[in-house]
Symmetry: C2
Subunit: 199 residues, 2 copies
């Protein structure tokens, strides 16, 4: 076996979100035939690891094992220096079942006040894992560093984007043109590393 | 970058045990220049993940990051079906700081009695991870299935070897000739997968 993804290969994306799978297909230049874990009726494993890379690998390995296909999974989130890396791997969970990220961003701001933070450094991480059924897994991580801004600005992007301003930028991810964000984001960097490693 | 290990490459093995590094050098046909994390004065990260693969990756990534070298790490243990996979990633810790595996094997036997187990199925897992500094990580896993035998037999091998008899074998790992064990063990299978993927 070689750790290469051949064009036309069938991959299962470990998500139940068809939109996410379409987006990933585009990032991968539609080189692959993608199905989702949802399409195949696979259940989502508990994300029990303590790192983005660990959780991405756990999800990819579970999907590969259950489907017999090469599987791709991601895990990403926001880490705040003054909060010892929180919300980190719990970024999505801070939004709750309602995906209330206005609430989650308020929680970040409140925590920063509680600790009297003067340092507003933060970074987004995206881990991507590709797993072969009963075979190896390859994991990469992309990161973008920045500063938190309050109040949040802009209604583009998702999650914590309105309160995150990347280093060297003058607008938040919530205000940024998606094409520009796709050049500098943690996700873009992770996919660039994945392509360099596997294509 | 390509996910290949070139002959002569310098690798750091994420261990403080020089014997283990020598053993790994031999398994890898002395193709690489190996140093240990101990040689470099690197500290060992906490093994916070919930899986063998996750912990191997965590250790390899930490060693690669701290050293700037390609890093190799392993994580392995015994899983008992009737104990829901315990001791699993805690296999070494069940031996305690004194590495008392006689005590750990007794604990396995007591737990099996407590749950009234009739199924003595168990398996050894070995996860291996190779991480490039600031780059990808590759993780493989090898597994050998077997049955627990009490009382333990033989004084070869280490850890839980005396109470483990691989499927198709008539003696325990503790009684087995090391050369034979090196043909069928979880570790041998993991290294075979790693070599197939990266050499």
């Amino acid at each position: 076996m070689t750790l290469k993804l051949e064009p036309g290969a069938k991959l299962v994306v470990a998500t139940h979100n068809p939109g996410k799978a379409r987006e990933i297909a585009a990032i991968l230049d539609n080189r692959f035939e993608l199905v989702t874990a949802g399409d195949l009726g696979l259940s989502e494993p508990d994300e029990t690891e303590s790192t983005f890379a660990g959780n991405a690998m756990l999800k990819a390995r579970a999907a590969a094992q259950a489907s017999g296909l090469i599987a791709l999974a991601d895990d990403s989130g926001l880490s705040v220096a003054a909060l010892d890396g929180a919300p980190g791997i719990y970024s999505a969970r801070w939004g709750g079942p309602e995906k209330d990220f206005v609430g989650a961003m308020t929680k970040v701001e409140q925590r920063l006040e509680e600790v009297g933070a003067e340092d507003f450094s933060a970074w987004f991480t995206c881990a991507l894992a590709v797993a072969w059924p009963n075979g190896p897994a390859v994991v990469v991580e992309g990161r973008v560093d920045g500063t938190l801004v309050f109040p949040g600005r802009g209604d583009r992007g998702h999650g914590y984007d309105p309160i995150f301003q990347a280093l060297g930028e003058e607008i938040s991810f919530g205000e940024m043109d998606p094409a520009r964000k796709d050049e500098i984001s943690h996700r873009a960097r992770a996919f660039a590393k994945l392509k360099a490693a596997l294509l």
